[in-house]
């Protein structure tokens, strides 16, 4: 391994390309968390009474809970009173009514990130909701979506306009007391996206939310709720970046998916939060709860995630397969580098008959990073003839990184079938030498080998994002060889 090691040891020279800060006037709460902060937040958002009550209930539950410590990650204790729970760009007047009224600084920010929001340059075929710190700043393609009856708006707006839908489904998949970070999110979430696809509608566009943390010492607590009514379909993508800062920032999001009869949700994530510098300083703590409930029969949900950012990633996009014949899929690429730590995987909870799930997890570790897959496959007593297939592959680059696999399987039904395959491999000297002997430089060779390793997952991403994900891996690995 002499060569690859030396190359790997020279890792880590590249700067995070989304690390700039937007200079914009913001309304930001003083750091600290108490019931008054929650009341103020709710008041700013002009929320109905039920929302405030819901938040306070969550807050009181949170106070009684302990921060979990079972994940295979290590970090200093978070001081929840040192964080500001709300930051929003100052608005000239009220909400911008059209993109023309959005602050040009913000439009520039998103353009720099490759997410043009302006009418002339919008991403073809993709409707975008842009969330900047605590608020949604713009949503594109509103008209064609409205025509199809699709609701795609900031969740703060949905609380006002569609309170009955929000009240019915919010917290129905991830209850306020589900876990420490979900409780915190429920108490203080500021914005996020809301999607409702009516019965029988195939959403005419890909929907996408782009999350950007800008302000310092601010936590981002977005909340996403997607409801796919009977016989509907939607494909949704989220992207995330943040400036480079020396302090760690907390991101504790909750995503809930509700899938009714014969409906399908395809949820893809390209997560590129700031990972910290080459010495492990700074970076985002990404503590996220994502869960889908396949309530209806024949419903289907696919989670596809490409995780390259964050100092610490702690997330398990899960599927509760309640409806008979419902299908859950999880495709994941998690890349860690430098001192990044990831503990990620999924939970497949089989409750209905003939439910099936597939888990394909690809973990890549470079530098001194640690990458763990943690997955639960559970079959309830009613999960007649349910089946799961799990494949966990780990790829190591260099000899100072680590890969771990923690699979949990619980079955209360004798007819359930579960298959588990796991492999661990290294980018070998022989592979590197073959590539270089053919004239391919070391960096390009590693990126090619890693992309090949991830192929099964990338093919699940929407086309335009598959290309982006490939490039992102390349950038994240840059400097991983000499």
């Amino acid at each position: 391994m002499a060569n690859t090691d030396r190359q790997v040891n020279e890792l880590i020279k590249r700067e995070y390309e989304h690390g700039f800060v937007t200079d914009i006037e913001a309304d930001t709460f003083e750091p600290g968390l108490n019931e008054d902060v929650i009341r103020r937040l709710s008041a700013i958002k002009n929320e109905p009474e039920f929302m405030l009550e819901w938040r306070l209930k969550a807050y009181r539950r949170w106070l009684e809970m302990d921060e979990p410590d079972w994940a295979h990650v290590d970090f200093p204790k978070v001081d929840y009173n040192a964080i500001s729970y709300y930051s929003a760009p100052k608005k000239k007047e009220d909400m911008p009514q059209s993109l023309d009224e959005v602050d040009p600084e913000l439009l520039k920010t998103y353009e720099k990130l490759g997410i043009p929001l302006h009418e002339r340059a919008k991403l073809a075929g993709v409707a975008v909701d842009a969330v900047f710190d605590s608020v949604s700043v713009a949503t594109t393609f509103k008209e064609p979506l409205e025509k199809a009856g699709v609701i795609f708006c900031p969740i703060s707006e949905a609380v006002q306009k569609y309170p009955e839908l929000v009240q019915k489904y919010l917290g129905s998949v991830v209850p306020v007391g589900d876990n420490y970070f979900a409780a915190l999110n429920s108490a203080v979430f500021s914005d996020g996206s809301f999607v409702y696809i009516p019965k029988g509608v195939r959403c005419p566009l890909e929907l996408s939310t782009y999350f950007r943390i800008n302000a310092a010492n601010t936590g981002q607590f977005e909340r996403t709720l997607i409801v796919a009514d009977d016989d509907s379909y939607v494909s949704y993508l989220e992207g995330c970046t943040a400036p480079m800062r020396d302090e760690n920032q907390l991101h504790a999001a909750v995503v809930e998916l509700v899938v009714l009869e014969n409906a399908q949700i395809k949820y893809s994530t390209v997560q590129n939060w700031y990972p910290g510098d080459e010495n492990g300083k700074g970076g985002i703590y990404n503590f996220v709860t994502k869960r889908a409930a396949c309530i209806g029969n024949n419903s289907k949900v696919s989670w596809t995630q490409v995780e390259t950012g964050s100092a610490i990633t702690w997330k398990y996009p899960s599927c509760v397969l309640r409806g008979d014949n419902s299908v859950g899929e999880f495709y994941s690429v998690a890349l860690t580098h430098n001192y990044q730590q990831a503990d990620t995987g999924t939970k497949m909870i089989h409750l209905g008959k003939n439910t099936s799930s597939t888990i394909i997890s690809k973990g890549i570790s470079a530098g001194r990073s640690s990458n763990a897959y943690r997955g639960l496959v559970k079959f309830g007593p009613g999960a007649e003839a349910a089946r799961n297939f799990t494949q966990c592959d780990s790829l190591l680059i260099g000899d100072r990184c680590a890969a771990h696999t923690f699979p949990y399987i619980e079955s209360q039904n004798k007819t359930a079938i579960v298959e588990h395959e796991a492999t661990t491999s290294k980018v070998s000297d022989e592979q590197m030498f073959l590539c270089r002997q053919r004239g391919i430089d070391a960096e390009q060779a590693v990126s090619m080998i890693v992309n090949g390793f991830c192929k099964e997952v990338f093919k699940e991403l929407p086309m335009e994002f598959a290309v982006e994900a490939g490039k992102l891996l390349e950038v994240s690995l840059e400097g991983s060889v000499g």
Partner: protein
């Protein structure tokens, strides 16, 4: 074209090459024969720039320039090609993507325009037929699930695509049945040209029935102990390495 002077090299502190001297001119085909452990493969790896081998003294000039100063990939782009004895698999990376990246890296280095996917596909399909590989192989992962013979033919196909100045063939005949050997040899013979040199490393003489060398060298104990023409290989086949006072570790017959 290639001038090796008193080359010494070691791996993990153990000296394998103990003073190699060799001159190769354009258009020539050289065969290096020798028993297992004589340093044949080490010589090819050192010329290609494998960093697991350390050159301790000596000089190698390639077209008048110091080859040993150059990085592996630079040597490749300037025309040194090594057909591997045991080609490694790269799962998930298609042969086509791998080869196009390689060809374009070389073209870029030489200031030539890069080939787009369609142009390259056309070229690769033609070349794959030359070594009797179904063009479907181009879509498969690099060497992934290939048989031994397919891997070797894939190596020759790469040489035909990259059009090297010096092609080094490391035990290209090993593991091939007689039909596959014929196909691989036809591919190598197609490479022969007035401005290209070929260096074949082999234990057995049978390859030389198909690819007739201009010069034959016998390597033993890290040194070339005898050089001659085609007839030297035939003599070795008849008399075995023992004839030259060399002990073959495997005692394998030269006839193979």
């Amino acid at each position: 074209m290639l001038s090796i002077k008193n080359l010494h090299a070691s791996v993990e502190g153990k000296e394998i090459l103990k003073g190699i001297n060799l001159e190769i001119n354009p258009g020539e085909v050289h065969a290096i024969m020798g028993p297992n452990g004589s340093g044949k493969s080490t010589l090819s790896q050192v010329l290609a720039g494998n960093e697991a081998y350390e050159v301790t003294s000596g000089e190698v000039l390639f077209n008048g320039e110091n080859l040993l100063d150059k990085e592996t990939e630079e040597r490749a782009r300037e025309g040194i090609f090594l057909a591997f004895q045991y080609p490694v698999e790269i799962p998930g990376v298609s042969n086509l993507q791998f080869l196009r990246t390689a060809v374009n890296a070389k073209r870029k280095h030489l200031g030539e325009p890069e080939m787009n996917a369609a142009e390259f596909m056309k070229l690769a399909r033609e070349v794959s037929k030359q070594v009797d590989l179904n063009p479907d192989f181009l879509k498969r992962g690099v060497n992934e699930g290939f048989s031994g013979g397919e891997k070797k033919r894939n190596e020759i196909m790469q040489a035909l695509l990259l059009q090297p100045k010096l092609a080094i063939l490391d035990e290209t005949d090993s593991g091939l049945d007689i039909d596959a050997l014929k196909v691989a040899s036809d591919g190598v013979n197609a490479l022969r040209s007035a401005d290209r040199a070929i260096l074949m490393v082999t234990h057995y003489q049978r390859l030389l029935n198909h690819i007739v060398p201009d010069h034959v060298h016998v390597l033993a104990g890290g040194r070339i102990i005898k050089s001659g023409g085609r007839e030297l290989a035939l003599e070795l086949e008849e008399k075995g390495y023992g004839w030259l006072g060399i002990k073959d570790e495997d005692d394998a017959p030269v006839a193979g």
